[in-house]
C-alpha cells in the first residue's frame, strides 16, 4: 500500500504539470498583450516571474524586461 503512494504522487504531479504550463502560457499571453497595449516593444513574453499579487516581471523575446502590475485600478508597465 505504502509503495503505491510515491507512484500515485508521481502520477498526480504529472497530471498537474500541463495545467501549470497552461497557466504560465496564459499569463505570458496576457502580459504580451498588455505590453503591446501600452505601445511598448516586446514581441512576445518568453518568461513571466511572479513578484506578488498582480505583479510580474516579464522577459521579452527581444531581451527587454518589464514590470507589469496594478496600482489604483490601473495597469502599470515599467521598463526594467
Amino acid at each position: 500500500m505504502h509503495a503505491r503512494i510515491p507512484a500515485l504522487l508521481a502520477v498526480a504531479a504529472l497530471l498537474a504539470l500541463p495545467s501549470f504550463a497552461a497557466d504560465d502560457a496564459a499569463i505570458r499571453k496576457d502580459l504580451t498583450a498588455v505590453i503591446a497595449l501600452h505601445g511598448l516593444s516586446c514581441g512576445e513574453v518568453t518568461q513571466a516571474e511572479r513578484k506578488g499579487d498582480n505583479d510580474y516581471v516579464a522577459t521579452c523575446k527581444d531581451g527587454s524586461k518589464y514590470r507589469v502590475y496594478t496600482k489604483d485600478g490601473r495597469v502599470v508597465v515599467e521598463r526594467q
Binding site: 496564459a26 499569463i27 499571453k29 496576457d30 502580459l31 498583450a33 498588455v34 497595449l37 501600452h38 498582480n54 507589469v68 496594478t70 485600478g73 490601473r74 495597469v75
Partner: protein, 172 residues
C-alpha cells in the same frame, strides 16, 4: 522479365487513373498537399448547390437569404453590452481587460471634456483615438473570440454615434 513488364504496365495504368483527380484541383494545390482526403468534399460542396439552385429555386433562395438576414439583423452592441462581453470573454487575460478598461475610461474622459465645451479635443481629434482603441480591441480578440470581434466591428459606428452626441453621451 515479362512479369516485370506487366507490373510496370499495371503501375502506369494505375497512375493514369490517379491523374484524373489532380486535374480539377489545381486552384487548391496547397490543400492537396496537406490533406488529400479533405480536398474531395471541398470541390463537391460548391458543385452541388449550383445544380440544386436551378432545380429548386423557391426553396434555395430562402435558405440562402436566412443567414444573410440573420447577419444583417444581428443587434449592435451598446457600450454596456460591449463592456459586459469583454468582461465575459476568455480571449483576453485579466491584465489586458483592466488595461483596456483604463484606455476606455481615458477616452471617455476626453469625450467628457469635449462635451463640457473645452477644446481641444475636437471631435476630429477624438475619432482617431476611438478608431485606434476599437482596432486594439479587435486585434486582441479576433483570434479567440471572432464572434465578439465581429460584433465590435458592426457596432463601431453605433458606439461612435453615442459618444459623439452630447445627449446620448450624458445618458451613458
Amino acid at each position: 522479365m515479362r512479369s516485370l513488364a506487366f507490373l510496370f504496365l499495371a503501375l502506369t495504368a494505375g497512375c493514369a487513373g490517379m491523374t484524373k483527380p489532380p486535374v480539377d484541383a489545381p486552384p487548391s494545390a496547397a490543400r492537396t498537399a496537406k490533406a488529400p482526403a479533405e480536398k474531395k468534399p471541398a470541390p463537391k460542396a460548391p458543385a452541388t448547390p449550383a445544380p440544386a439552385a436551378p432545380a429548386t429555386p423557391a426553396s434555395a433562395a430562402p435558405a440562402a437569404a436566412a443567414p444573410a438576414a440573420k447577419a444583417g439583423a444581428a443587434p449592435h452592441l451598446d457600450l454596456k453590452g460591449l463592456e459586459q462581453r469583454l468582461k465575459d470573454t476568455s480571449a483576453i487575460g485579466i491584465f489586458t481587460k483592466l488595461a483596456l478598461k483604463n484606455q476606455v475610461d481615458d477616452l471617455l474622459a476626453k469625450f467628457r471634456t469635449y462635451h463640457d465645451g473645452r477644446k481641444p479635443p475636437t471631435l476630429a481629434d477624438l475619432r482617431p483615438n476611438y478608431e485606434l482603441l476599437i482596432m486594439k480591441v479587435q486585434s486582441l480578440i479576433q483570434k479567440d473570440d471572432p464572434a465578439l470581434a465581429d460584433d465590435v466591428a458592426r457596432s463601431r459606428e453605433v458606439i461612435w454615434g453615442v459618444l459623439a452626441d452630447k445627449s446620448k453621451f450624458t445618458s451613458i
